[in-house]
């Protein structure tokens, strides 16, 4: 009889312990369950180091102004160019981890995705280059690898970068571009290219600088043709896209940090 009660007590204790430990089990999402979506991750009360960095990276991409302001010199966010937080094809998607070497060459120690991210800070965000091991860079790298899940290493992901527009046979014409801009773009980006609430500036001291990929007429034309006017992409003709890119390219913007160091310093000190 005594043994029975002891046994029952034991069972109760054991089941209590299991129950509490199940309740207290860390609800960490593990990689084996397949990839959780960002929305799921945002709901989680606790994330491990990798996923918390993924979420941090996502937050930096979508709100660079508040989450990585240390290295930013203009008023853009990464997601202004890498649309839909870097998930949209033909709008500079960020699922490109497989395209960059994972290893670090011994002397060219700074290549890989980290360098690319840091360059976008320097040129597209007109800021300063974060150090290689800055938390912001590591978080964005984690986010990039998260987006790249399922991609084949070394193979170009579908819709990478922006479409390359075929030559139209005519030189880009900024004067026509100005007309296109005023007609199609100024309603959102402002007549002076200054942007407005929710609309990023496309030139001026608060936009990307002259060293940015977007300041390349071909690159910009591809981006604009595929994505702009926002919500109505691919409505411009190729020639219109080239023209408006050439127009944007002529506007005032921060100098390229590579060729006018003094100007750049002044800009930074005044800004």
């Amino acid at each position: 009889m005594q043994n029975m009660t002891l046994f029952r007590k034991l069972i109760t204790v054991v089941s209590l312990i299991t129950a509490t430990s199940v309740l207290l089990m860390p609800s960490v999402v593990s990689a084996q369950q397949g990839q959780p979506t960002i929305e799921q991750l945002l709901q989680e009360p606790f994330l491990d180091d990798y996923y918390s960095n993924v979420v941090y990276g996502y937050e930096i991409i979508t709100d660079t102004q508040n989450n990585a302001s240390r290295y930013v010199g203009n008023s853009l966010n990464c997601s202004n160019c890498h649309l839909q937080a870097g998930t949209q094809k033909e709008a500079l998607p960020l699922n490109v981890a497989g395209m960059y070497p994972k290893w670090r060459a011994k002397n060219g120690k700074r290549n890989g995705i980290g360098l690319r991210i840091r360059e976008c800070f320097l040129y597209s965000m007109d800021g300063i280059m974060p150090p290689e091991d800055a938390p912001e860079v590591l978080a964005i790298s984690a986010y990039v690898s998260y987006l790249s899940q399922g991609q084949i290493m070394g193979a170009e992901p579908e819709g990478r970068g922006v479409p390359t527009l075929p030559d139209t046979g005519y030189d880009p014409n900024p004067a026509n571009g100005r007309a296109v801009y005023l007609e199609q773009c100024a309603s959102c980006h402002g007549v002076q290219g200054e942007g407005m609430a929710g609309m990023p500036p496309v030139w001026g001291l608060n936009s990307y600088n002259k060293g940015a990929g977007m300041n390349d007429i071909r690159e910009a034309a591809g981006f604009i043709w595929a994505n702009m006017p926002l919500g109505n992409g691919k409505s411009l003709s190729h020639q219109q896209a080239f023209d408006v890119s050439a127009y944007l390219n002529l506007q005032i913007r921060p100098s390229d940090p590579r060729d006018s160091k003094f100007l750049k310093l002044l800009e930074h000190l005044i800004n």
Partner: protein
Amino acid sequence: MGNWRTEIFAGFVGAILVIPQGITFAYLAGLQPEYGLYCAIFVTLFCSILGTSSMMSGPNTAVAILIGTAVLPLAGRGSPVYIDFVFLLCLMVGAIQLLFWLMRGARIFQYLSPAAISGISAGAGFLIIMSSLDSILDLSTFKTTFFYEKIYVIISDARDLVNPFSLFIGLCTIAGGYLGRRFSPRYFIIIAVTAGYLSGLLVAFIWPQPITELEYLGRMPLEWLPFSVPTINMEYLMISTKLIPYAITIAFIGLAQSLVIVRELKMETDQDINLDKEVYAQGLANLLAPFFSSFAGAGSFNRTKANQSLGATTPFSGIASAGFVLVLITFLGPILTYMPMAAMAGTLFIVGADMIKWRDIKHYAKVRAELVIYLATFVSIMFFGLATGVVVAVFLSVSVFMLRISQLELTVESSDSGVLLKVKGALFYASLAHLTERFHSHFGKNMTVDLQFTTHIDQSAVDFFIRESKHMAAHGARLTLLINDKQGHFLKKLGASSDIELVAL
């Protein structure tokens, strides 16, 4: 109340001194620079408001290094989770320090010998120098177990690893600091920072950042009231049990430094200082720190000294300093953006080198035990880190202390009637061995033990006397104790009077 103008000026100088420290110590703690500045504002402020002395609290090297070592294994440097854990750790530190206060624990710090404290400070200086090398040489982070491996890797791979631009700026800073000290011993850190900043501008003027790969401080998103609520949930708490040993070490080391400073102030000035209140102030300041986006701090030797030499005598200078940091940073912010990290690291190098004092080594070399404590602490910090070093320091100080007080001074006078043994010192379990030897070398003779100059007798000593007197009685000898009233009381209580002849003096 001192002269308020003096206090305000001292606060202003304190603020200028603390800004580079806050930024670099945040780096040591693995955090973004603004957290160090918040620490310089809020920990200093709370500590001065709640405290009683003119001590300057705020970001502290040893505390910052320990925060870094504690949290780095748990999360990536500076990531949101990392910051969460730092805040949690600081909450624990504050709570433990308040526990010290509740238990009136300020006294136990008197047992940490000055040699141990100097050894810890020198060891921390060494760690600071090593970590400043990371930024001066712009090494991409690589891990080695022991420091000499790192030095070896740096030297053998210098051409690939070392960034010459960064090295140039670092050297300019250090040179500026040491030259500046000739002209202005008090403000030389500021001269060093300026030299580093200007050489950084020069480099940036000639080469663009993609070539130099220089690290800059960047814009600091500073708020005037950076409220934050530390995240506390089940998962965090389970992981954070790993932090507890560190929390205890940090709490201990932080208080030890603050109290050394306060005690010195108390001896050297006529401030009305309450040690317990200081413990309370430091503990509460650290407990509140995470709610204001800052990490834990402790008293600062160099800033308190500067403060003192400017004539500040009240906590008001600390409060003023906190305010000035806020104002200065708001105006300096844009200029600081282009501050090279190498310049910050250069000042860190100077701070670290100053903590290893040749004068200390010479001073402690005079007494062997002190030298052993100093060197053992220093070397164990070099090899095994600050936390281990602190444990070694505490252990050695307590051991030496025990060894010292277990030393008895015995004088023996032999005569025909027996032996008279005079005992000076404390008679307790640790010192009995010494006495036993003497007893056995005079075995068989009548023995009189004079306990007049014995400071303390414990139960094991009484047991010893009872045992010996029985033993002696069996061989026809007698034991007499010469005692005072208090001792008589104690001996009788333990039943010694039946076996031993007690003679009251």
